[in-house]
Symmetry: C2
Subunit: 257 residues, 2 copies
């Protein structure tokens, strides 16, 4: 085993049961860590896919209770979708960015721009059940962190993730939607680089990079919703608290939009 | 030391010298691996920041040789930029997406949409020298892979990266611009999830996620341009060759654009 100076390990916790509303997610994580013989440390970063958070928080909708609007009905008919699920997407959207080919790109109430407002039927038990994003992913992250501290006296940072598409590039990537105990952005502006030059645009979205890294061990089909990132050292770990919404770009500043 | 079933390690190779045009990058990487006491394996993924690739390939421009156009001059004057550098950005662009506040978002000849067409002065030796993207990052990746095979008989996958901004979200993240020996996208469509439901939109840009993961160890200021990802298992490792351009979304298909 190599022990290099500069390395980060992403450790998947495999022993999670199916999460249902009301379950104690911190307890489930600690059980999974124990089953993996892993002691959590203060400087670990615990990365959790939002779906288990949403399930534990009861953010599930039974489509049999949903009355689709005319808009939802028309769109669903045109593209062969479930009108009730389209209706849930519309309800979870603050603003529709694009609505075409059966896909709705919208801005959620949190400010995230993503497909179908984060409403998702995959990896959810029950044929008519869909899963929403957590109401306040930062609060969810902070709650998990505090519950873990209460149980074992350790305070890892927590990142809650979802997989988002993006313009110009194929494929989805995992990003951070909620954080606790870590600054999601690291600002290198004004610091000299290796050649003594001042760097001009280097604000790095490390929480998104950590989220993407975690996806390498969670995969998409299995039941591995918890990843521990170990060995990551960065200004973002030590500069106090940040929020997932720090990752949102104000429209007026967004040259890429 | 924990030995979990499911983990990925990102190992930074720290011993790289300043790369100059004509240097044998494969040799530099192998020396760095040796100095880190690391034996490369066939199933490793070697992740390399494009800047060292560009430098080795001589993709550097001396601004003292550049005659700025009128457009470059006007834009530079308005925003307090170096007109010669603006001129290089315009030359490296196939299409200007946006040009405001001193920043040019453009589409490069490769098809990448990024700030300043990937032209960058940070971490480059020489006050008047700027660094361009490699001409063909896939070819660069394949060349590195082949040179490493020739030297030590091992064929890790290779990913060449750059840090890109993106719409809607703050901060830049590392993405893949060239690949060899790995499919950059893993397609889970049509496979049943954990509950036997067929997943509908799950094409994951694993090369981008690997690139982002690597940035966690390279940082931005230091001299750690090489990262080995070890322990990553995925369909993308076994399903043959892909290209970095597989990650480019055709405009006609791009609902996020």
């Amino acid at each position: 085993m190599v022990t290099p100076i500069n390395s980060v390990q992403l450790i998947g916790l495999n022993e999670a049961p199916e999460v249902t509303p009301g379950m104690d997610l911190a307890q489930i994580i600690l059980d999974a860590a124990r089953a993996s013989d892993l002691n959590l440390h203060d400087d670990d970063i615990l990365i959790v896919t939002h779906k288990v958070v949403s399930k534990a928080e009861g953010r599930l909708v039974d489509l049999r209770d949903v009355q689709p609007s005319d808009l939802a009905r028309r769109f669903a008919e045109q593209w062969g979708k479930d009108a009730r699920q389209v209706e849930v997407v519309l309800r979870e959207s603050a603003r529709i960015v694009r609505m075409d080919r059966g896909i709705i790109i919208s801005q959620t109430r949190h400010g995230f721009v993503c497909a179908n407002a984060g409403v998702d039927a995959s990896n959810v038990a029950g044929e008519d059940i869909v899963c929403l994003l957590p109401v306040d992913p930062d609060a969810s992250a902070a709650g998990l962190r505090e519950a873990i501290r209460r149980e074992i006296g350790v305070r890892p940072a927590v990142i809650i993730t979802d997989s988002f598409g993006r313009p110009w590039r194929q494929g989805i990537v995992n990003v951070a939607i909620g954080v606790a105990g870590i600054q999601p952005l690291v600002d290198y502006r004004g610091q000299p680089d290796d050649h003594g030059r001042v760097m001009n645009v280097s604000v790095i979205a490390i929480a998104d990079e950590l989220a993407s890294a975690a996806e390498l061990v969670t995969g998409k089909l299995g039941r591995c919703p918890f990843v521990v990132a170990r060995g990551y050292t960065s200004p973002g770990r030590d500069s106090g608290e940040g929020r997932g919404s720090d990752l949102l770009m104000d429209a007026s500043m967004d040259l890429f939009r």
